[in-house]
């Protein structure tokens, strides 16, 4: 945020009519960020790949219209062909349709769970860092969550809420909410710790002191001065969070705790395909590639964003 402040001083200098000319044209923070981001080749490739995947899973099923759950046992274990570009599985389901449908679920789980864990983590991190009195209890809560064994927690949650959610939202939406909630609530701790650390450092800085001294309200200080400065670590953990959530969902499907077995997700397709590696390698190849590419491109994007959002790196 130091840059913005410098711009403000520049503006003020220009207004009082002294000789300092305004040489630079007005540049917003986001233009700066974008320009820096653009120089990071990996990040740009990442954005392109991710955009392609998102577009493919969003619009693909309208072009390739085979029902991913339709079984055609007479056409099982087929290699790639025009009708089935990715081949079929051992029950004759079209793999391309399944990968596309699975992508929708996996990406939706990844993004939603990330959003939940991020909001929780940021909220707790900022509160713990900014308000001294909340710091202790909130950080102990974070420690508590870090110490929680996830698997027993999952088993308990599934036991307690599955039937209720199922009757309220139907089997697929119900499980979706449950999974997103569980992943979200068990992965916010890292973000909270990082954010708290940053907030602790920033709140001692002069511009915060200045804001205090002119009587700015706490809420406004957090919103206007603290939050924008911790945006960089938050963005990075967001991208990492998406990747982690996709992988956690895959792991859940392995344990039979995820979606119904005929509801494709990338993790489940991969798991189901492994025994058939020798017969139809494409069953593992495509969902595996989709997971890897998504996670990799999201990570590169995070890398680029971190560089772009850090004013000390930006412009070098």
């Amino acid at each position: 945020m130091t840059d913005t402040m410098r711009q403000k001083t520049d503006l003020a200098a220009g207004l009082d009519g002294t000789s300092t000319p305004i040489t630079a044209s007005h540049r917003s923070l986001w233009t700066d960020v974008w320009q820096q981001f653009y120089t990071h080749k990996g990040a740009v490739v990442g954005v392109c790949v991710l955009a392609f995947i998102v577009l493919a899973v969003t619009f693909g099923p309208y072009i390739h219209t085979i029902d991913p759950q339709h079984l055609d046992i007479r056409a099982k274990n087929q290699g790639p062909s025009w009708t089935h570009p990715f081949g079929t599985d051992n029950l004759g389901r079209d793999m391309l349709a399944q990968v596309l449908a699975g992508g929708r679920t996996s990406l939706a789980v990844g993004v939603t769970a990330m959003a939940l864990s991020l909001s929780l983590g940021t909220l707790i991190g900022v509160l713990a860092g900014y308000f001294k009195i909340l710091g202790g209890p909130l950080m102990r809560l974070t420690d508590l969550f870090l110490a929680l064994p996830i698997l027993p927690l999952l088993l308990v949650a599934i036991m307690l809420f599955r039937d209720t959610l199922r009757s309220a939202f139907g089997p697929e939406t119900g499980i979706f909410l449950l999974i997103v909630f569980i992943i979200g609530i068990t992965s916010w701790m890292q973000t909270a710790r990082i954010v708290r650390g940053e907030v602790l450092a920033i709140k001692e800085r002069e511009f915060v002191l200045a804001a205090h001294s002119i009587g700015t309200r706490q809420r406004r200080i957090i919103k206007r001065h603290i939050f924008p400065n911790v945006l960089s670590p938050i963005m990075v953990s967001a991208t990492l969070g998406v990747a982690a959530a996709i992988i956690t969902e895959s792991a859940l499907s392995f344990l039979g705790l995820g979606f119904p077995s005929d509801f494709p997700t990338w993790g489940r397709l991969l798991y189901d395909g492994v025994p058939f590696l020798n017969i139809t390698p494409s069953r593992v190849l495509w969902p595996g590639l989709a997971i890897s590419l998504t996670v990799l491109s999201v990570n590169y994007m995070g890398d680029g964003l971190r560089d772009a959002l850090d004013p000390r790196i930006r412009g070098r």
């Binding site: 274990n77 119904p260 077995s261």
Partner: protein, 569 residues
């Protein structure tokens, strides 16, 4: 069925001093066995798990085994008692076993009738929680007539008196070892339960529960030339596919058990040429159990309980629906997709032995979607806008649960599509085997609680007599909170006529008559639609090409003849 093979006592004595011209004990190195479910205890009386019974069967032996054809063959006795040779009393109320003389336990002490009497007391102790208790049902007394003669007396006539001590699930354990482990103390005797002493071909050297068992040849075994292997390593863990791979493709193990794997995968692996896939058909039937009571979670404690018939299922209580569900299934496709040569289409819950197999239900062998649709139309189930049938606001929407296994999930997906054609909506759920079959009281996902509309699994009975098996579906065998959800009547089927037949079967002696009654009971279950049989499953295993002597046995423990296994050189 009961053609006992005479084994002259002298054979045993001769064997003790045999010159062992063709083979010698413990000369073939190590035998490596892979069980993808790891053994957790070596006392078969305290575990119902096949894996534990199999692991113990190397150590402890019953008086007689079932061989691979289902015949009873002597193990620790000189001959099989029958009415003809006077071993079974004419009124079927007692059976007298003559123990083979000269047998010693692996610790060197002699094996006597006192051990047999003790084993019965151990299992029949009311607080012992013995899993072989059904074998000892109606046993009045077990007494030692002399050092080598045991007489078992029954309360009622037992036309099939081979319950106690026949088959690996009710072996003889050593009195000296288990004397202080009776009743409630049984599970606490870890040392005994993990280091069981036996008369079998091997003795345990090291046992790590749920991981690995290491055995070595029992140097006191009655046949001096056997076993051929010096040690046996039984490793547990992994899954069916990796177990098959370890034997067929990489050759790391000699034998792998219970391979429920898609046929094309097994065939590809077998093509590597390191081993072969073997299967044998017994009494295993993959079946769908139909929930006849209401499993609605809103019912709380009454969920999925019978309540004297006052808690019927909202739509599965309609016979037309149950019949239509069965008619809509193309079982040939299920066999082709998931079982290959290890499965056959069946319409019976009691498919074997041949004398008990009914043909009255063969209508189910061919899929008839039109007939199923007509049945539902006639019963007033009309298709809604989304293609799902409904009547009086009740939709034909099922929750279909089974254990986690890719073959089962494939079968589920296929059946879901078949049911879709008759306007039935299906939601699939799969539950980890350890939970589904685990019997944990606190879990809602066990197959006994059956909190879903239909569930699929395989069940079977040991031995060749179906009396106990068919008695599983009497009214009093329903799992409910009152009996801690124990019982095998999963559909909550209750018909007094069926109960009467079960009683009749228990007192009928002639084999033909027994077959007629058992078939009638089978037909009642299928006709009512409480059980939808799908596939008669073979027990599939794989063994290395260098392993000889394996006889795949579905009537007894898999390693029942492990003393004869040897290395082909």
């Amino acid at each position: 069925m009961l053609k006992p093979r005479l084994l002259i006592a002298a054979t045993a004595a001769a064997a003790m001093v045999a010159t062992a011209a063709h083979a010698e004990r413990a000369t073939d190195g190590q035998l490596k066995i892979l069980y993808w479910q790891a053994p957790s205890i070596l006392n078969p009386y305290l575990s119902g798990g096949t894996k534990d019974i199999d692991a113990s069967s190397l150590i402890v032996e019953p008086l007689a085994h079932y061989d691979e054809t289902g015949e009873i063959v002597p193990a620790l006795v000189t001959e099989i008692p029958t009415v003809a040779n006077g071993g079974v009393s004419k009124d079927f109320t007692s059976i007298t076993w003559d123990l083979m003389p000269g047998i010693v336990w692996s610790d060197g002490t002699p094996f006597t009738s006192a051990d047999v009497v003790f084993s019965a007391e151990y299992c029949m102790h009311p607080e012992g929680g013995c899993n072989a208790a059904p074998n000892f049902e109606d046993v009045k007394s077990v007494e030692a007539l002399d050092k080598h003669t045991v007489k078992i007396t029954f309360d009622v006539p037992k036309p099939f008196p081979y319950g106690p001590f026949v088959g690996s699930n009710s072996p003889v354990i050593q009195k000296a070892q288990f004397e202080n482990c009776m009743g409630a103390k049984a599970p606490e005797c870890t040392e005994q339960n993990f280091g069981t002493i036996g008369t079998g071909p091997f003795k345990v050297v090291e046992f790590r529960a749920n991981d690995v068992v290491l055995y070595e040849a029992n140097d006191k075994y009655r046949d001096a030339a056997k076993p051929a292997f010096a040690t046996v390593l039984m490793k547990g863990g992994g899954d069916a596919v990796s177990a098959a791979r370890a034997v067929l493709e990489t050759g790391e193990f000699d034998y792998a058990w219970n391979l429920q794997v898609e046929p094309e995968i097994l065939n590809t692996m077998a093509a590597a040429g390191k081993g072969k896939v073997i299967s044998a058909f017994g009494t295993s039937v993959e079946r769908i159990m139909v929930q006849l009571t209401n499993p609605d979670p809103a019912l709380g404690d009454k969920r999925a309980t019978y309540q004297d018939g006052n808690n019927p299922h909202p739509f599965l209580s309609d016979p037309a629906v149950r019949r239509a569900l069965s008619l809509a299934i193309d079982r040939e496709i299920l066999v082709e997709a998931g079982y290959g040569s290890a499965g056959q289409v069946t319409c019976n819950v009691l498919p074997a032995p041949a004398i008990y197999a009914s043909t009255a239900n063969d209508w189910c062998k061919t899929q008839d979607v039109a007939a199923a649709n007509k049945l539902l139309d006639d019963a007033g189930w009309a298709r809604g806008s989304d293609g799902v049938r409904e009547k009086d606001g009740v939709r034909l929407s099922l929750l279909y649960q089974t254990s986690t296994n890719s073959v089962r999930q494939g079968t589920q997906a296929l059946i879901k599509q078949m049911w879709q054609e008759i306007g039935v909506e299906t939601e699939l759920r799969n539950i980890s085997s350890s939970v589904f079959f685990g019997g944990d009281q606190s879990s809602p996902d066990t197959f006994q609680k059956f909190f879903s509309d239909v569930e699929m699994y395989t069940n079977l009975f040991n031995g060749t007599d179906p009396e106990k098996y068919m008695a599983r579906w009497t009214c009093d065998k329903m799992p409910s909170p009152d009996n801690q959800w124990i019982g095998n009547n999963m559909p909550r089927y209750c018909d007094p006529a069926y109960d009467k037949l079960a009683e009749q079967l228990a007192v009928t002696a002639a084999l033909e008559e027994r077959a007629v009654i058992a078939k009638k009971m089978n037909d009642m279950l299928i006709d009512y639609g409480a059980i939808i049989p799908l596939i008669h499953r073979g027990a599939v295993a794989a063994h290395s090409n260098t392993l000889g002597g394996v006889k795949q046995n579905v009537w007894d423990a898999t390693p029942w003849n492990i003393q004869d296994w040897h290395r082909i050189k």
